[in-house]
């Protein structure tokens, strides 16, 4: 329960990072998870993207609701490997929601709701004529 208005973004990012980091494994390869994208990222990675949130508590305490993006990026081949990106996205989803009622830990915050809202596939032109595949999962959350 939050008794003062605070920013919960990084508690949520840290919670997601702790679940995913070191655990996104596909065909024996562990893919990196980034809170912010480094200058020279891996050709395939998971990025914890933008958080949009507002406050919707009660007269006693603050609750924060919003959306967070978890993005699988693949620019491992000239045309991007959408099939691999989708497989990794599936692994990410399974880690974040292994069961319907799973709520992971976010430091001192209590995550009340975490559910998948939508997925948007984006295929775009990256540097050096490489096609980048980005699969953007958007999750709803309520945290207090």
């Amino acid at each position: 329960m939050s008794t003062a208005l605070v920013d919960i973004s990084y508690d949520l990012v840290d919670g997601i990072f702790d679940i995913l980091n070191g655990n996104v494994v596909y065909t024996g390869i562990t893919y990196p998870v980034y809170k912010s994208i480094p200058k020279t990222p891996s050709s395939v990675y998971v990025h914890i993207g933008d958080i949009l949130h507002g406050e919707d508590g009660t007269k006693d305490d603050f609750d924060y609701y919003g959306t967070v993006q978890v993005i699988v990026v693949d620019e491992s081949s000239q045309g991007g490997d959408k099939k691999k990106a989708q497989a990794i996205l599936g692994i990410v989803r399974g880690l974040l929601k292994p069961t319907k009622s799973t709520i992971f830990s976010c430091g001192s915050r209590t995550l009340v709701i975490f559910s998948l809202e939508s997925m948007i596939p984006v295929i775009e032109q990256a540097d050096q004529a490489i096609t980048r595949v980005r699969l953007i999962d958007t999750y709803n959350f309520i945290i207090e």
Binding site: M1, G57, T58, K59, D60, D63, I113, S115, N140, I142
Partner: protein
């Protein structure tokens, strides 16, 4: 006159504030029995009858906090607890302004929807007069 932020409204039962409320509503009614006669020249007339009042509320279900939690309200109804002094305040939890009277916890609903925070709602029925604090 300054507008009132609804967050500064609270419901107090005895010395305990109802916790985790999102909304609270005080409804006051007066019964108006018909008094129309043949002498009313075609216009309906009434007299002022009995008054009654009720408070309804809703909030987000949470079992923590120092005050009256949703679970304690439910327990009061199950136990058919006696009336308490109810205050519908307009100055936060101090109870120095607003309206007061004896009331009974009458209804309580708890709703758990899929992937939404559980909510509760209920009502307090006034037992006797309502007066300004």
């Amino acid at each position: 006159m300054a507008k009132l932020n609804g967050t500064l409204n609270a419901i107090i039962s005895g010395s305990d504030r109802l916790l985790h409320l999102s909304n609270a509503t005080l409804n006051v009614n007066v019964d108006l029995p018909d008094a129309t006669t043949k002498e009313s020249t075609g216009w309906a007339e009434h007299i002022n009858g009995c008054r009654d009042w009720e408070i309804t509320y809703d909030g987000k279900y949470d079992t923590t906090g120092s005050g009256l939690t949703p679970n304690e309200i439910l327990a009061a109804i199950i136990a058919r607890s006696a009336d308490t002094v109810i205050k519908f305040t307009t100055d936060g939890a101090t109870g120095a302004a607003g309206w007061t009277g004896n009331g009974t916890f009458r209804t309580f609903s708890l709703v758990g929807g899929q992937e939404t925070p559980a909510t509760f709602s209920g009502s307090i029925k006034g037992n006797g007069a309502l007066a300004a604090i």
